[in-house]
Symmetry: C2
Amino acid sequence: MDDLGGNIVKRLRMVIALAAIPLFLAGCGDLGSSSMSSGSKGSTSGTQLTGQSTDSDYEGVIQSGHYRVSKSRGVTNTQDSGNTYNLKSFENGMLNVSKKVFSTKNYVFQEGQYLSSTTVQDWLDRKSKTNATGLNPVDNGSKSATKRNPIYIQALEEQDYMTQKNNKLSLAGVTVGIAVNSVDYYKKEQYGATYQTKISKADGEAYAKKTANTVLKRMRQKSALKNVPIVIAIYRQASNDSLVGGNFLAYSNNKAGTTSVSKWTALAQKNYVFPLESGQSSPNSNDASSFSNFKSQVENFFPNLSGVTAQAQYDGKTLQGMHINITTQFYSQTEIISFTQYLQTAAQKYLPSGVPIDITVSSTDGIQSFLSRKASEKTFSSHVFNSY
Amino acid sequence: MDDLGGNIVKRLRMVIALAAIPLFLAGCGDLGSSSMSSGSKGSTSGTQLTGQSTDSDYEGVIQSGHYRVSKSRGVTNTQDSGNTYNLKSFENGMLNVSKKVFSTKNYVFQEGQYLSSTTVQDWLDRKSKTNATGLNPVDNGSKSATKRNPIYIQALEEQDYMTQKNNKLSLAGVTVGIAVNSVDYYKKEQYGATYQTKISKADGEAYAKKTANTVLKRMRQKSALKNVPIVIAIYRQASNDSLVGGNFLAYSNNKAGTTSVSKWTALAQKNYVFPLESGQSSPNSNDASSFSNFKSQVENFFPNLSGVTAQAQYDGKTLQGMHINITTQFYSQTEIISFTQYLQTAAQKYLPSGVPIDITVSSTDGIQSFLSRKASEKTFSSHVFNSY
């Protein structure tokens, strides 16, 4: 397995860059249908869509048989996050914020095509004599955790939203995510120990909002982005030791042509890990105790079970969903089948209803089985991974 | 992660052992319902069932809140297989053979309770002066691959099938799987190189059938097993370099009281790995080319994609199903979402219909998404693994 490569590429993805690359759309797919080009392999020259799994997902753009990847794909930032949860959380959260403005019914998702590597690399660096566009503060020379200027802006990502008219896709909106650190990890000397500068929620949010104005202004200078709505969403990264990603603090929907943010909408999204650490409390104690009941019921099933944990997301005091992870030692296939059936019953009995929940059962050999229930469903569906 | 422990436990599971341990069934669950005991935690004293995911799965037995594990759980064999596919394939195959005799509607599955560690450990060893019950041939002293007596019987597993009467579960049938080697891996000296003795299909099957008679006779000596049907299924292990497990060659359904096998029913099950190696052919070339079309369509989607392979199972010339594995480098969450949507469309378009198919997308970070379609369904359902 290309473990090293995978990790490097993963880290590389915390950044986005900017470039005004024109879109060539030669014959577009029909948004209504999910049909793919039926041309012979390799000769597919038009634009197609990926097809839509559910009404709540965007379709994506395929160009000449290839997925149209982000213009910043694989760009690196010397400063990376160290918490892989942030990455999925940031991208998914951007999709969810976008859905408030660009409906999945009328818009098609496209990986960012306007922010290219070099420019955003510069944006994410510190401002300096050689880097006038840096969005992070100048280095004030201090190595003291409380006196130095921290790196506030950790990541910046673009998502494009397209509509179809006369069989052509055209840009109809952009979402930009700005991720600010809650902790800035730094070294006093190369290969030295890692130190931390903590950034309060208020400080980080204020810095990001100021930055958002700069970003909006710069994006409006590109002709393709002058007259489309630009949504800016502010994300606060979780610290490296967190078992769940960070969360979005606020977003703004900036109408075509506007060059400064006039209004922010606050988001009350917050993530928790169950079981809660002692002394910690969640917005709704019923959910935490539901999970505890489920956990102790499930832990009794086998002579040994390594762990049952959950990521829970709240909007204010309302649970939005849960990702439950169960890690086991090796079990036989028949044990996994029985355990999964048992989970199906126990999950329905103990876990909160009305929210999407999925449960993953993994061993050292990887995933063994998987259960999920949508918000609207009563029972969990399940799948046991199998082999011939 | 407890990698070492996991692997050891995994290897340990290739064996089963025998002991006549009486079943204590104090108040049984209702086969019709999947309800669990609603007693307070820890005080659940009766027997419950796991609940049934689908009509085609057996329910399992829970005793006082704990799963009733096999009496041979964790028993070791010094000779293990080295091919983890065999393990899942063997246990799943035993379930499938059992379903031909014991319907999932009327029978409940229980891990083997009659074969205990020490006895079957002896059975799987070679026959010798100190081990009269060994089912494998005596050591003839030769170290030559063609002259030595190989280890034929690699694994032996028991599954129990229960019915309910007057609110009690009672044993109504047993399935025993006997796994014979296609290759016996051996060492001429401790820590030395590994050599191979190949065992032809005909030789292995003949040896296993002879062994089946011995096993049946021995099982009938236990009073609990005297008057239940005993199904014996013969499995041929895949070699260690195979990317798919072995397959079942034949089974016999031995009526209550019988002490020798009167009739074997041949099974024409065979597993293949797609893409086929050059020179190899599958029972139905349409399936192989369907897979090729799917593979090349999918491989074009991203700038780089590590591999698309499939396990395919046939019964004679008829495809029974496919497990498709797609391994990727790291992709962003939005890329995984788009790729999964694309797969949903491409799979439906290119892959054979009318058989169960699942598709797993994994990166070095583990599973990323998953699609499946049952034999009776037209479209694939999908799930993208997520994190808050």
